[in-house]
Symmetry: C2
Subunit: 757 residues, 2 copies
């Protein structure tokens, strides 16, 4: 029994309006791009250095895309073949949507990064003139990534919905999965790249050779700059793209589940409104983000850059809220939707503030870390761990409060858990309304950072130095805050996705094809539970909870391995290139970039396999309720670990900066040395392991949703555990291969004097 969804003329107009908004977003991004590319790049030396960074960045992304292409193809085939049970139109739609999602995510990352590597040098040049102009270039470079993120995400989802209507959710799952998977790879690969290069450059340069940061004699400096772009720009844009996508998909799935639980024409009408509202919210967000980006201008060179950025965020948020009210009041005629989305905007703000409190040098946590550097490295590290542990708890409590608000708003008499979770997904949507501005803020960070590096290397730092330092300091704050924001949005997205898990199971049990649009009786849903008090579910919960720990251990080790190669290479160059130390010869940066690229991509395989296959293994061994427990476990520890690592890392970074600004003896003091160690430990945590957990949480939850129908149908079949064993073996093989030391590695270790070899 299926009910076809029909649109009123107003709704048709609204849908086209959303598409127009998405296109406007893309066009505005294109306009910003054109405008920045036309700007002046400064001196020849600046151009030369910028060219090196660009080449490295392009080379990396190019190799990354070709490396993961085979996996995308395999998954495309698998998803299309799922049409054998779900119906071929859905299967093909899902497969194509997966490709589109992957493409959109990759394209967003690519556009963000390619402009960042153009913007950096132009920002460095603008900084020679004024702060106002430099901020304009840096923020607008970020704005391109922001506009492509929102434009691509909205366009794809809206078109899919218009084609498939009430059956769109299944296809949208494919779209979301494509986005998540690419984001995972770009986050992990980019994260390993950026930190391996950074740790390598810092350790040999600052600590061993005693030369300053960004010194052109250091062969790893270019790789470090490239890393900022592939990690913080491309990785982050792809990551937020998929949060943006997944919250939208989740709200649409939940709206349909809510309607189908009723099964009547009125219910379908409500579902339609509940689906259209998120799309409208997104459309509004695109337009208000443009408004926000336009507001980011300094009134004078004396104004603090953060004031300009805050102004943009503020305008974007306020106008969004006003428009939400009108659509909720006059179209859906249910103000609860307005409260929930507005709650999301507030949540974004509160998370931003909480993260700032734990990571900015202006507040007590970072000041305490800085103070404890006086009693040595160990106390500074312990203090940072404590700050991270504490910060993650408060972020989590804020998220819980937002969820509890949804419970209060939507949990009235006669409302089901599905409505509450719809409310949670609206909170996520509200949170991501200002995505355009948020991505700009984040991408702005590496642009400013790179500009500083280029200026340093090209010898223009005397004229541009103070401006760029001020921009860079703000960039550190915005980077940390947007990371907190990205994780919170990931958790909200995952929790709301989680809400559709049981309807999937119910559908599969009654033999529904999983093609979407079927009606599940409320009784069928009532019978299903994921009960923590069942031993199998508890086992699932425990194993799920362990995954973020395992994943983090893999990514941290990967950075260590890759950094080891780089350190070795930089040392070799100092040793073997005559005159390098004296500044009379050029280092071979390209070789370091190559080593970075190769090692980062080699390290992708094992975590990738774990993310995709582990949910299938758990489901096939312990059953669908255990898989439900598993997905919940990942969300819990994923959020806690991710924020812990990001907060601790950023706090150490800023504690070091406080010392460099003159506390406790300033640069060169023992306190500073302790601060540098803290920063170096924190870097892979905050830029690799922590942020990679966002896409991990969502990839695993999406894989869970995609495979659970198969697991329910195959229940009791002896093949199921066998499939589980085979997949577990695949994970184990990749895992062990990642830990195996190559001949080259062993030689490297031996050359640095390992007496055990």
């Amino acid at each position: 029994m299926e009910t076809r969804m029909e649109f009123t003329p107003f709704e048709n107009a609204a849908l086209w309006g959303v598409i127009v908004a998405a296109v406007i977003g893309l066009l505005y991004g294109y306009y910003l791009r054109r405008r920045i590319v036309r700007m002046d790049q400064g001196t020849d030396e600046m151009k030369r250095i910028a060219r090196l960074i660009q080449d490295g960045a392009y080379a990396y992304l190019h190799r990354q895309f070709t490396t993961i292409a085979w996996m995308v193809v395999i998954l495309f085939i698998a998803l299309t073949l799922s049409g054998a049970t779900a119906g071929w139109d859905i299967g093909i739609g899902r497969g194509v949507a997966f490709l589109l999602g992957a493409f959109a995510s990759a394209f967003t990352g690519w556009m963000g990064m390619t402009l960042a590597v153009q913007g950096n040098v132009r920002c460095a040049n603008a900084a020679r003139k004024s702060l106002r102009e430099a901020l304009f270039v840096a923020f607008r470079s970020g704005g391109v990534a922001g506009m492509y993120t929102v434009g691509m995400g909205l366009l794809g989802a809206t078109i899919i919905f218009m084609i498939f209507r009430e059956r769109a959710t299944e296809v949208l799952l494919g779209f979301g999965f494509g986005g998540c998977l690419l984001a995972l790879f770009m986050r992990v690969g980019g994260g390993i790249y950026t930190k391996a290069a950074d740790v390598g450059a810092d350790l040999v340069g600052k600590i061993e050779a005693g030369i300053p940061e960004d010194d052109p004699r250091n062969a790893a400096v270019i790789a470090d700059q490239v890393g900022d772009n592939v990690g913080d720009c491309a990785g982050m844009a792809a990551d937020i793209f998929e949060s943006y996508e997944v919250t939208l998909v989740a709200s649409m799935i939940l709206a349909l589940a809510h309607a189908s639980a009723g099964g009547t024409a009125e219910a379908m009408d409500l579902a339609k409104k509940w689906i259209l509202f998120p799309l409208i919210v997104r459309g509004v967000g695109v337009l208000t983000s443009i408004l926000g980006i336009m507001q980011v201008n300094l009134k004078s060179d004396q104004e603090h850059p953060m004031a300009g950025i805050s102004r943009g965020f503020f305008w974007s948020a306020i106008t969004s809220i006003i428009l939400f009210f009108f659509f909720a009041r006059y179209y859906v005629q249910d103000l609860r939707l307005f409260y929930a989305t507005t709650g999301g905007v507030i949540l974004a703000l509160v998370i931003y503030k909480v993260t700032e409190y734990y990571t900015s040098g202006r507040f007590r946590p970072v000041q305490e870390i800085a103070r404890s550097t006086q009693t040595g490295t160990a106390t500074a590290l312990l203090q940072g761990l404590a700050v991270g542990f504490e910060g993650t708890v408060w972020s989590l409590i804020v998220i819980c409060a937002a969820m509890f608000a949804s419970l209060l708003i939507f949990g009235g008499e006669g409302e089901s858990a599905v409505s509450v979770l719809y409310g949670v997904s609206l909170t996520g949507l509200g949170m991501l309304t200002t995505t355009g501005v948020m991505v700009s803020m984040d991408t702005y960070g590496p642009v400013a950072d790179n500009a500083q590096g280029i200026s340093e290397m090209a010898g223009t730092s005397e004229e541009a130095g103070p401006v760029l330092a001020s921009l860079d300091a703000v960039g550190n704050t915005t980077k940390a805050a947007t990371k907190g924001f990205a994780i919170a949005s990931a958790v909200v997205a995952a929790v709301s996705l989680y809400g559709s898990y049981l309807s999937k199971v119910a559908l599969a049990q009654v033999g529904g094809g999983g093609g979407g649009g079927e009606i599940i009786s409320p009784e069928a849903l009532e019978r299903l539970h994921i009960q923590v008090d069942q031993p199998a579910v508890f086992i699932g919960l425990l194993i799920g909870g362990a995954m973020p720990f395992l994943f983090s251990s893999m990514t941290i080790r990967a950075v260590g391995r890759a950094a080891f190669y780089i350190i070795n290479e930089v040392r070799r160059q100092f040793r073997e290139i005559p005159g390098l130390m004296e500044g009379q010869a050029e280092p071979d940066s390209a070789r370091v970039v190559d080593i970075c690229t190769a090692s980062a991509l080699r390290e992708l395989a094992a975590p990738g396999m774990l993310a995709i296959l582990a949910p299938v293994v758990v489901g096939s061994w312990f059953g669908w309720p255990a898989l439900g427990g598993y997905l919940a476990g990942i969300i819990v520890t994923g959020q806690l670990l991710a924020v812990f690592m990001c907060d601790a890392g950023a706090a150490w970074d800023n504690a070091k900066k406080s010392i460099e600004d003159g506390l406790y003896g300033g640069k060169g003091s023992d306190a500073h040395k302790a601060g540098v160690v803290g920063d170096t430990v924190g870097d892979p945590l905050k830029d690799t392991a922590g942020p990679a957990l966002n896409p991990l949480i969502k990839v695993m939850n999406l894989v869970g949703l995609l495979v659970v129908p198969l697991i329910v149908r195959a229940e009791g079949s002896p093949f199921l555990p066998i499939v589980g064993i085979i997949l577990a073996a695949v994970i184990a093989i990749f895992y062990l291969m990642s830990k195996r030391e190559s001949q080259e590695q062993i030689q490297v270790y031996a050359s640095v004097g390992d007496k055990q070899e």
Copy 2:
């Protein structure tokens, strides 16, 4: 409808047999104690130093007991008043049992510690003669703690069961809670003490003043030795005591729940057997532990100390398994009980091996950390974090495998989740069978460590040095391994306790007094679920998951604060006592001991309040299903964080030791300095924050079980959220007070040159 439980003559005999076994355990402990106390203490200087350590240790425990007495009294009153709903005999029984449990836990810790501080000097003296004799003294000193742990635990539980029979579980909850609470305080207080002293002694002594470890000129060295005893002996013994207790209580509760779900006389008969079996298992364990301890003797001075210890463990395990078989086969006539308990013995062994792999210098993880010290402190720290993250995953997977085995053994057709969880609790029982030997192994560590310290300070290290170094190295391994074991047992205990949560809810809903022995219909139980897919439960799960992070942040900070005072005091003494540095004057050790004691006890309040009140707050705000989610969340992240911290800490410690043994330049090299920092960071993780999570997991789960009946009855009452708000405010006040800096602290900071003050 209640069915009185009657015993057959054989069962009566078995119960008395168990009591006799418990008494034999206590007598054997007393015998060991007498024997050790009579031994020679060596030179006058050794006696003097030992006396200083003893005084410090007694002073600490004395002040600790008086400090927490008021809280014990308040909780005693609260539990007794719970008789108003549960029946006064149960209320009073529960209150008295709580006092007994608290007393037994404290007494176990006290006995373990008082003998450890007698054994240390005698071990130091014996080491002047032979390795064989030194091991004998050290291990037998540990044996006293071991025998009191098992003797007291078994005696208390058996007597309570014989008095209250089918209503015993409620009273046993009180007994378990008393034990857990004391263990929590002893773990946290002792943990803060030991690490504050250790960090303080190391930082000023080794790093700043450049004097060796355990140098008598360092005023914090005595406090450091005291700390080993109050932390590793008293804290650990109390902790394992309560794991020992809680697994027993859980298995008895589950056996009764299983029976009452049936409600027939046959079911009651089965329940009786299922209750008696755990008691018998414990009795067997006491006797085989004695056998095991007796086996710990070296055949010659050439044998490795670990060989002797392993022999003891092996004999104890094998004889236990054989006896389990006979009782399961011929008394209960159900071999599943044999499989489950034997599974527990195997689990203990596997956990031991996994922990050893991740923390011993003989294996790759620690070797990799040691190797990465060559590229600096930061890489060594990152490598250690990765090792910890990985190690905790494998420990968790082993525990899950054991739970899955219970599921396969007990999860047959027609069996409920309760039987499976009974199986899990039997696994826990089996695991803790060898407790006597395990506690001896653990307490042996600080005895050997102390002996080395005394020998160093008393100037007898030339004759006794090599023997003591070899004993100490083994002690590090056993300490790490028993920690892994303690955490695994805590998780198993908590999961099985968790199994009785729903029967509590069902009882309270039908208006049962919670007095135990009532019959719950299977239908009533079937209707109850803790569903992760409900938003409130998910919120509970998230908040529960956050608790171990918050708790860890509090304990790590507490160590930092306390250490800061000590560092300052030691520096002051070096500055102000003339001739101290030259060895011509004595440091004022007593003052450092005082500072340690005072600060450790001041730091107890906030974490203690959090542990006791937080479950009540969650339950009263979000309802009983959310409280269920909360308890599950604590178990998941509690286990993961605890093992992470213990593994990482021990791995850094042993990596440093490997370097000291000659790798990468040995003592004094840059690699060694990096190793020392790793060790110092790891210390509070492995000895304070990590182990404190064991009792935290159990205290919160027991509080949850005790308050859930009240929460179910008060459901919908407007007072409930108000109570929640008041209790949350109490937590907040203690939390903020713990973070407030005293005038003295501010002065201390100012004196070390904080430019911000």
